[in-house]
């Protein structure tokens, strides 16, 4: 509850700051929406000029993209800015101030790093997904839909795990922005259905770097169903990544020297 209060207060402060530059605030909202519509626009262009992506109709693919935008939006709301908070504080030798507060350092940093732009992104994603679902005969009262929601949350958990790992890395190595850039690039694999990649990539993106849980698996499970053993096989790597990220964070906090860089 105390973290929720912190998060609410934090978002109020961030919004007050944004309102000081109203024109920029409005253009930020518009630009976020434009950026999120580029993917679906490309999809429409691809489907108008070719037969499309193997195994995916246009509306199925739009659902895929809407789902991905929702996952990225939720990630942006809760964790993306945390990395920059940690990165800047570590670089300036000010990170210790977060460790002196009577809060869990990770939850505290997440609470104060809430990013309102993620709400816009999530809304756009939800709109695109809803539009696509209206053409797809989705049964909302089904295990398929329940698994869809669970896998979306697991997608967010995986992104949270990676950002926590990179943040932990910055506490130890001080400057590791390159890792963030690498992760952004690897996210490109999540932007298209897993089935377009070779089998080696499919195994890697499911079990070793399970970014396919960002959109491919939630939508695949919703549209085509899933067996329970396979569902567990999809979930376990995400939980493992989350466990490792928490361990890395605790390790980094213990090793922190506040020397800056």
């Amino acid at each position: 509850m105390k973290y929720l209060k912190l998060a609410t207060r934090s978002i109020q402060i961030h919004l007050n700051k944004e309102f000081a530059y109203k024109a920029d605030f409005i253009t930020k909202i518009i630009s976020t929406m434009i950026a999120d519509f580029v993917g679906p626009l490309l999809a429409i262009i691809i489907y108008n000029t070719t037969i499309g992506i193997p195994g995916w109709t246009l509306h199925e693919f739009l659902l895929f993209q809407g789902t991905l935008i929702m996952v990225l939006g939720l990630t942006k709301i809760f964790i993306l800015s945390m990395f920059w908070h940690v990165y800047e504080a570590v670089e300036e030798g000010q990170f210790h101030k977060y460790l002196l507060k009577p809060y869990n350092s990770l939850l505290f940093l997440m609470a104060i790093s809430i990013d309102w732009q993620g709400i816009v992104e999530f809304t756009v994603g939800a709109l695109i997904a809803s539009y696509a679902m209206s053409y797809l005969n989705i049964n909302f009262i089904s295990f398929g839909f329940l698994f869809y929601i669970i896998l979306i949350l697991l997608g967010v958990l995986f992104h949270a795990a990676i950002y926590t790992m990179i943040s932990a890395g910055s506490i130890i190595a001080v400057k590791n922005e390159a890792l963030l850039h690498l992760f952004f690039k690897l996210t490109d694999f999540a932007r298209w259905p897993l089935t377009v990649f070779g089998i080696g990539f499919q195994i890697f993106l499911t079990f070793f770097f399970p970014i396919a849980v960002s959109a491919f698996y939630p939508v695949d499970v919703l549209l085509r169903g899933v067996s329970i053993p396979w569902l567990i096989a999809i979930i376990l790597p995400v939980l493992a990544a989350f466990g490792i990220s928490i361990w890395m964070w605790s390790y980094a906090i213990k090793k922190h020297t506040s020397a800056g860089g």
Binding site: Y21, A23, D24, F25, I26, T27, K28, I29, I30, S31, T32, I34, A35, V38, L41, L42, I45, I46, N48, T49, T50, I51, G52, I53, P54, K175, E177, A178, H181, L182, K185, L186, D188, F189, R191, W192, T195, V196, F197, G198, F201
Partner: protein, 263 residues
Amino acid sequence: MSFCQHKGMALAGFKIAIRYRWENIAQVLTNPISLIVYYFLWKAIYAYTGQEIIRGFTFPDLVHYYVLAMIVGFFTWSEVDKWIEYDVIHGKMTNALIRPFGFLYWYLSFETGISIYNLIVQTIPVFIIGFIFFNLQVQGLTVFLGFFASTTLAFFIYFGLAFLLGLAAFWMKRITGLRRVRRIIIGFLGGSFIPLTFFPNWLQQISHFLPFEYVRSVPILVYLERISIFNALATQLIWMIIIYLLIHIISKKAIKRYASVGL
């Protein structure tokens, strides 16, 4: 502004770019990931569609297009609007304005230094990656020089567009949202994500009357020998003149608004 002054500012930009060398090297190493993703995506689409040529592009042509889009993107990249925004917000624009030459040339020389650095550290390595791993064709001297001239003009146009946008900071102070719009529009209408021939005809027609395709698509098409070098360079030159005239007019009004108060 003398050549020595240009050289001095370009050197400053070059040195600052060196400061971020690890980030740049990381970009060179990680950006081919996007190429791998596009490679698999289009391989699957071409196989599924069963056509050898889609909208004038074979599969290898399209892969070369993406390699060249990355090369042109590295060389023409400019964040001058970010510098202007920072200088206006922090009241540091005074430094640029009191110099004995126009602040446009000051920023231009600075960004030229960064672009020369990008040419060495990013563009050339990606060219080599393209030749070795993606069978990018080695072109004759005329085409290569045409490509280099077109990419250089593309850099000036991109810089000009970013500078024009940066001038909005004199009115709005913060232009983060506008900068994002600039990146998306140039990326999309410039043809970075997909060749413009894939666009519907009406959008292609509109695009010809906008400057964005001359920043990305045109240099690529020059390299792939799909358009006349002369026509490409002439149109780019015209766009460059139009944009710099606009800068000249708007910057006069912008400077009048500046009060050096900062945050």
